[in-house]
Amino acid sequence: MTNGTITEEKNIANNSGKTVYPRHTEKIMKGNFAAAEAAKLCRSGFIPAYPITPQTTIVEELSAKVARGEMDAAYVNMDSEHSVFAAAMGAALAGERVFTATSGQGLFYAHEVLHAIAHFRLPIVICNVGRPSIPWNIWSDQSDSISQRDTGWVQIYGESSQEVLDSVIQSFIIAEELDLPVMVVLDAFYQSHTSENIWIPEQQLVDEFLPAKKSKGDEIDLESPKSIGGLVPPEHYEKFNYTYWQNINQVEELTNKVGKDFGKHFGREYKAVESFNINKNTKLVLVTMSSITTTARGVIKNHPDVGLLKLRLFKPFPKQSVLEALKELPDDAIIAPIERNFLGDNYGATIQELMRAFYNERNFKMYDFYTGLGGKDVPPLTIEKIIYKAKNNPKDVNWIDLEY
């Protein structure tokens, strides 16, 4: 498999050496359908929906699952993403397990409500299929989700569609344990519309891992009306932020723990970050998120001195996991993040977060690489160019194919 580390004893290899996961069915499925399948397996009870390319088939498939009676959920077609997230908020306040999905402009439009959901502490899980805004474009790009990084949502990026499915299951655990919303991000087309081998766990297996949502006792109750969301005076306001801060700081550790538990239960283990070929001899580390990681893993096979750091948890930024992954890396090594995001700043989001993580901790040479924006294909040749450029007189910030 292309994802995570395989826990040996749980899995059996068939005659040809291929890993087979017990209590799973292998299917050829597109990423969007894997996301919908995950929402079903998590027994999401409320799905407000509004379609947008390239997310559309997620909500279409969920609608079909509800219509076919495969899912016991209330599915509501809303008039906009702003309404979708408002409805999600209401249902979560009433104690439902809520799932929805969006993309690009849809996420931008919901921006105001994203803040509200996070700071009302509502454990909603969504999938965002990354696409940019203007210039108008429907292809793969992480600018939409990353520009929402300060709304208070946890963000997890999946490298494969298997990872998306598995991450949605893990996200409900994280969300409901800390009362925080989680956004699982997948790449437009390279994941959303790509058919690939996906192992679907059986329902019982998921139920054993993710129990039904527990009542906290403070849900909306028609028998006991109350006011929610009133004006918070200055003397109390900070206290909300303080408790939020305490919980968001637990996310990284919990992500690693849930990922490990998931591995024990399903056979596929996950962490906040994953490293490949990073050791004391490594001279260059590429930093990637989502599907570019796979291509980069293929390319570094031919480069013994190049390592790869994959960020799975992006927000809150997993500082300790990153430092741990780079523990053996010499100080004179180069860090080269690949940015499939453009936020109107000199540096892309990945290097910004890494710099903050390294401050007072490590002092690597760091060069930023923009590529793959708006769905521009990132083939092995592009990764080769980044490796070459990072080693040969790089600029502080580099645009592959546009500047030399």
Binding site: S16, I292, V378
Partner: protein, 757 residues
């Protein structure tokens, strides 16, 4: 690892085919698979690619396929449009959907297979000729090229197609069996399919980067001032929109052939002279037709579907009246042949005018002391004032038509002096009722003529009761004239109001004025009473089966007779032509050249041939002149007319038009009509005419509303230097929104290739 790249157009279903292929390969062995599309900016019809990777182990590449082992082309028209063969591995293969010989592509690959997938799919009923669904056939052919198990493929195809599972599975199998070139199967390809690892990337990065150190000076950066400049989508078009002027129902229904939409448009721009000239090309009597025509144009006006038809009659009348005093140059006589026309009615005068304009010396012989035919004798003053008629005839004479009055002639008298004779004597002989004592009745058409020419009321006195028999225009005109002479007219008609041949607004006016109607009645006998009045026996009728005219035939009801006593009976049940011109010899009057023995060709036009309205007579005259000219010059002429596409209401986008009330001229209905022969309906003034013309929907002709310009999602429509809307076919991808949103059906959308001028 096996890498396949597919080429098709958006909408053909290739992406689905590649998904199904991924499922098939996952069942052919323990393969990891990865299939995904690369869509362009545009969708239906645009070239797209789909990719499929198949490997025994992990697929460590999530990017497009640039160096495939196998290239599959679903649509061969793409070969000249996009570089489909790019990057094919040295030992790779190509599979083309074609019925043609593929050897011309041998420079791209030494291993080319072909499959007539479109033919196979259509034979299996998959898709249509314009959009065949070749997926299953292509899958079958791919199975053959890879020497893979077709039975598994058939099963998975059947499970995964949205419809017709058996036909699809069959189509896969037929294709599997019919791949051409399979005698030279590519073993290397089949081996790569079973290999675990991808072939190592062989890139000389040093070399690439040394080239790239020199930045491309010509790199194009997009600019929002020309947002589409990087994206010429014109060649992805399947259906092509274009501006096309179509026939409007007003114009196509005018018997005279008037370009109604055209003159309305000119009038709306206050180009009253140009508008008049346009009418005059077909109709030399606009002032008259504007008043007395049943307005076939208005009857078919698409505006009837919103509120009321455009008041085309009022516009025509306005334009005619406004141009009475224009300069009329005399036409130059350039032909040697001389032509005689018998009868100075609308048909005869129109024929003569057209012939004079064509250069023939033309003389019209009129039996009566005044020209105008039925316009003069049959249409009362209150509908058509004599000075209007005088003006229009005067202008025809100014053009060079010679009119000889008081000269009743026969064809024989003219055949030596003229080279052709056109007979257009009208229908001035009233038909007989064939009942007892019919001589007690007055003939309606004669009555109108006598009154019009001589002011002879023929004895009708104030307070008299008059029975008028018939339901046509003559009956109505008689009744309204009688009313003005102080009589109490009652019209007896054997059918109902719905079947009346009279112009409906004339009937409405008659009712408003006080004419009474007795429908479903017919006289069967008359006799003189002792006090000098007339007793008429009337039988009641009912409507039976439809007759040849399509109207229901009136049938007498047995024993329903009743008697009325009136002062006078005027019959107006039909008219026939006076055969004096043919000296009583039998002749079949019909449009154009007729069979009649004479030294010169004899033609026929007007009411005696067909029709019964002024406008029909004008149309008849126009055609007769064309035929005379064609005959004399030995030019081809045909009575056959091709019916153009007419814009009917279902082609109008009514949502784009607002309701707007019709401007009508004032109607003059005084309480006492006695001796009041003044015109009933007044004309409209300049401002009202402009407002009324603005109600035109412009059926079938672009009026630059700009909907296409506003709605075009590709900004492919622009306004050219002449202010015209034009489509830039470099960018039009054929979505059809412009056609859909055109309010007046002035565009067409069809399978054709158009390029920019």
């Amino acid at each position: 690892m096996l890498e396949i790249r597919g080429h098709a157009r958006g909408g053909q279903g290739m992406v689905t085919a590649f998904e199904i292929l991924a499922k098939i390969f996952s069942k052919l062995g323990d393969f990891q698979v990865q299939s995904f599309p690369a869509f362009g900016v545009e969708r239906t019809g645009a070239p797209i690619q789909a990719f499929l990777r198949v490997a025994k182990g992990d697929i460590l590449n999530r990017s497009n396929i640039y160096e495939p082992n196998l290239i599959v082309v679903f649509d061969e028209t793409l070969i000249d449009m996009v570089p489909v063969f790019d990057g094919l591995k040295g030992n790779g293969s190509v599979l083309l959907n074609t019925e043609n010989d593929a050897s011309k592509y041998s420079e791209y690959s030494s291993s080319i297979f072909t499959i007539p997938a479109t033919k196979i799919s259509l034979e299996k009923g998959l898709g249509s000729k314009s959009l065949p669904i070749v997926n299953a056939a292509m899958i079958g052919a791919i199975m053959r090229v890879l020497d893979a198990d077709i039975e598994i493929a058939k099963k998975i195809v059947a499970e995964n197609v949205p419809s017709k599972p058996e036909a699809n599975a069959d189509s896969s199998f037929v294709a599997y069996e019919n791949v051409l070139g399979i005698d030279k199967i590519n073993r290397t390809l089949i081996e790569s399919f079973h290999k675990t690892e991808a072939e190592a990337l062989t890139i000389d990065i040093e070399k690439i980067m040394s080239v790239e150190k020199h930045p491309d000076e010509n790199m194009i950066f997009p600019s929002w001032s020309q947002p589409m400049s990087l994206n010429k989508t014109g060649n992805w078009r399947v259906l092509t929109p274009s501006y096309l002027t179509k026939e409007a129902p007003c114009s196509s229904n005018c018997p005279a052939g008037t370009d109604v939409r055209g003159f309305i448009d000119l009038a709306s721009d206050k180009k009253f002279t140009e508008a008049f000239d346009l009418i005059y090309e077909h109709n030399p009597f606009p002032s008259i037709c504007g008043r007395v025509c049943p307005h076939f144009c208005e009857q078919n006006c698409n505006r009837n579907s919103i509120d009321d038809a455009l008041n085309i009659g009022a516009v025509e009348r306005f334009l005619g009246d406004k141009n009475f005093e224009r300069e009329v140059p005399k036409a130059e006589i350039s032909q040697k042949e001389k032509i005689a026309v018998i009868g100075a009615g609308p048909a005869g005068l129109t024929t003569a005018l057209r012939l004079v304009e064509k250069g023939y010396e033309t003389t019209v012989f009129e039996a009566l002391p005044q020209a105008g035919g039925m316009m003069r004798t049959g249409i009362p003053e209150f509908r058509l004032p004599s000075n209007v008629l005088d003006k229009e005839i005067e202008n025809i004479e100014k053009r060079g038509v010679k009119v000889i009055l008081n000269k009743k002639v026969a064809v024989k008298e003219l055949e030596n002096e003229f080279d052709a004779v056109v007979t257009s004597v009208g229908s001035h002989i009233g038909s007989s009722m064939r009942i007892e004592n019919e001589e007690l009745s007055i003939d309606g058409i004669k009555f109108l003529q006598n009154f019009k020419l001589n002011g002879d009321a023929q004895g009708i006195k104030k307070g008299e009761e008059i029975a008028i028999i018939g339901g046509g225009n003559t009956a109505i005109d008689v009744s309204r004239t009688a009313l003005r002479l102080g009589a109490k007219p009652v019209v007896y008609y054997r059918r109902t109001h719905n079947e009346m041949p009279a112009i409906s607004h004339e009937v409405e006016e008659a009712v408003k004025e006080g004419v009474k109607f007795e429908f479903l009645t017919a006289p069967v006998a008359m006799k003189k009473t002792d006090d000098g009045r007339i007793e008429v026996t009337i039988v009641k009728m009912e409507l039976g089966e439809p007759d040849d005219s399509g109207r229901r035939r009136p049938v007498p009801i047995e024993n329903s007779e009743y008697k009325i006593t009136v002062d006078r009976v005027i019959k107006a049940i039909g008219q026939w032509f006076d055969d004096y011109a043919f000296e009583g010899k039998e002749v079949k009057p019909e449009q154009g050249k007729i069979d009649f023995e004479a030294n010169v060709p004899i033609f026929c036009a007007g009411d005696m041939a067909w029709g019964g309205t002024v406008t029909e007579a004008i149309g008849s005259g126009n055609k007769a002149a064309e035929e005379v000219h064609a005959y004399l010059q030995s030019l081809p002429y045909s009575h056959e007319e091709t019916m153009p596409e007419v814009v009917l209401p279902d082609k109008i986008n009514f949502a784009y038009y607002l309701p707007s009330p019709r401007y009508n001229g004032d109607e003059h209905f005084p309480k006492d009509l006695y001796n009041d022969f003044s015109e009933v309906v007044s004309g409209l003034g300049d401002e009202d005419i402009v407002k009324e013309t603005s109600r035109c929907l412009h059926c079938g002709e672009c009026f630059s509303c700009g909907n296409c310009y506003n709605y075009c999602p590709d900004s492919a429509i622009h306004i050219d230097d002449h202010g015209r809307l034009r489509i830039d076919y470099d960018y039009c991808k054929g979505c059809g929104i412009c056609v859909q949103e055109c309010p007046c059906s002035a565009m067409e959308f069809k399978l054709s290739e158009v390029t920019n001028d």
